[in-house]
């Protein structure tokens, strides 16, 4: 991500420049008396909530943990401003409720079991094949329809374009007819 790294640096300096108050106001009190208690941030990203597409500036620690968010002054939509939801992003990223492991719930079970990715991917692919093969409709009235109506797909409007494109490609290759997401509802 060389390009974006250069972008980050550019954004970082632009952000500070934009935020500076007129010289008459800055330095009215000594900076040393009240040093910034955390970094403002230097990397630019986009808010994950509504469809305005506001720019967000993020500060992270060395482990990728978010320390601060504020509006990106260079983003033409919001020019540094943000409403309540994106300002809560640190709690989205750092929430103790975030899923950290693959979980599996067996038939008729009353609890989750922790699993690993290899197991889950393998088991899911078996389910997909079994269901598709048992119900696939290749022809209908003499027309090739290559369709499965027994597997459905829902989501997702918070995903990136590249996620969504791959999901469509994935679903249609399997013959999925019931393909829907938030845009319908």
């Amino acid at each position: 991500m060389d390009l974006s790294r250069r972008d980050f640096l550019k954004v970082g300096s632009a952000a500070v420049g934009t935020l500076l108050l007129p010289a008459t106001l800055a330095g009215a009190a000594s900076p040393s008396a009240f040093p910034l208690h955390k970094r403002v941030g230097e990397t630019a990203t986009i808010c994950p909530y509504c469809s305005v597409g506001c720019g967000v500036i993020v500060a992270t620690d060395s482990t990728g943990h978010i320390l601060n968010v504020e509006g990106d002054p260079d983003n033409l939509h919001n020019r540094g401003t943000l409403d309540s939801k994106p300002l809560a992003i640190p709690q989205l990223a750092n929430s103790p409720n975030r899923l950290q492991k693959v979980l599996y719930r067996a038939p008729n079970s009353d609890h989750w079991e922790e699993k690993d990715w290899d197991w889950a991917v393998s088991e899911i692919s078996k389910r997909v094949k079994a269901t598709r093969d048992a119900t696939f409709k290749e022809q209908e009235g003499g027309v090739t329809v290559n369709r499965t109506e027994s597997i459905a797909w829902l989501g997702g409007a918070a995903n990136n374009n590249e996620d969504c494109y791959l999901a469509t490609k994935f679903a249609r290759a399997l013959g999925i007819a019931y393909l829907e997401h938030q845009a319908r509802i």
Partner: protein, 265 residues
């Protein structure tokens, strides 16, 4: 009087509460447990974890309904009773004229909590074992401002209802806005904070009477603080230990009793 000020133009506020969360975000203030009690307004009060919040008020006059939103936090009064009662100098008017808080110096006496005519500062128990407490309140992001940034709430405000800068300039923006609103038929448009308590560091443009927002029509400097200020302070902190303590405790008890009466109602 402060040389810089924050302007809250309630005629532009959409109550997105970016300011409320920006404050918590920048200062890493915890969320408190709240409950839906029939209002958009939550938390329902300031606290050690909430230094700034938006109030929601419905007001109907002349057949016209207004949903009034008010960003509330420290008013940074020129005649700041909290500064005057602070025995340690933790609360001070800084070089720019707004009221800074140095939590290192705060001894948790709570005088400021009682003295404030707007009920802004709160005591934050920092050690539950010893009961050690520190005052907490909006400092207008003293660290951001002294480092050339705008306060977190101002920076984030989408419609520009919150502005920040030279106080004279802010006043001029506010007055001009009031003129515009009046020309548009908002008869009750007015500024607030121009002269109240010697002039506030948080200025307002209101579109209804202050009381419709829950603001005192004419905030008053507490009389007892005046007394304390005039008698005790000239004697100096060191030499006035007993008298100071006596007066302050007396005043404190009276005030507490009055407050608890209010709560019981």
């Amino acid at each position: 009087m402060s040389s810089i000020a924050m302007l809250v133009d309630t005629s532009k506020c959409t109550a997105c509460r970016g300011c409320q969360i920006a404050c918590k975000q920048w200062w890493d203030l915890a969320a408190t447990r709240t409950k839906q009690t029939g209002s958009y307004e939550n938390p329902r009060d300031l606290s050690p974890e909430t230094w700034s919040r938006v109030t929601f008020n419905e007001y109907e006059a002349g057949g016209k309904l207004q949903w009034l939103f008010l960003n509330l936090g420290c008013m940074h009064c020129t005649q700041a009773a909290c500064v005057d009662v602070c025995p340690t100098g933790a609360l001070q008017h800084n070089d720019t004229g707004f009221v800074s808080l140095d939590r290192e110096q705060c001894n948790g006496c709570g005088y400021c909590v009682e003295a404030c005519p707007f009920r802004i500062p709160r005591l934050d128990v920092v050690n539950t074992l010893t009961g050690e407490a520190k005052a907490s309140k909006c400092t207008l992001c003293q660290d951001r401002v002294t480092n050339g940034l705008t306060p977190a709430c101002v920076k984030t405000c989408p419609p520009g209802a919150l502005q920040f800068g030279d106080r004279t300039a802010m006043l001029s923006v506010a007055r001009k806005r009031v003129d515009t609103l009046k020309a548009q038929g908002v008869a009750q448009a007015r500024t607030y904070g121009e002269t109240e308590l010697g002039g506030l560091g948080r200025l307002y443009v209101l579109t209804a009477p202050p009381t419709a927002y829950g603001l005192p029509e004419a905030p008053e400097y507490p009389a007892l603080v005046n007394l304390w200020h005039n008698l005790a302070q000239p004697l100096g902190y060191a030499g006035a230990g007993l008298m100071t303590a006596g007066l302050a405790v007396n005043w404190l008890l009276t005030r507490r009793a009055r407050l608890s009466n209010v709560e019981e109602k």
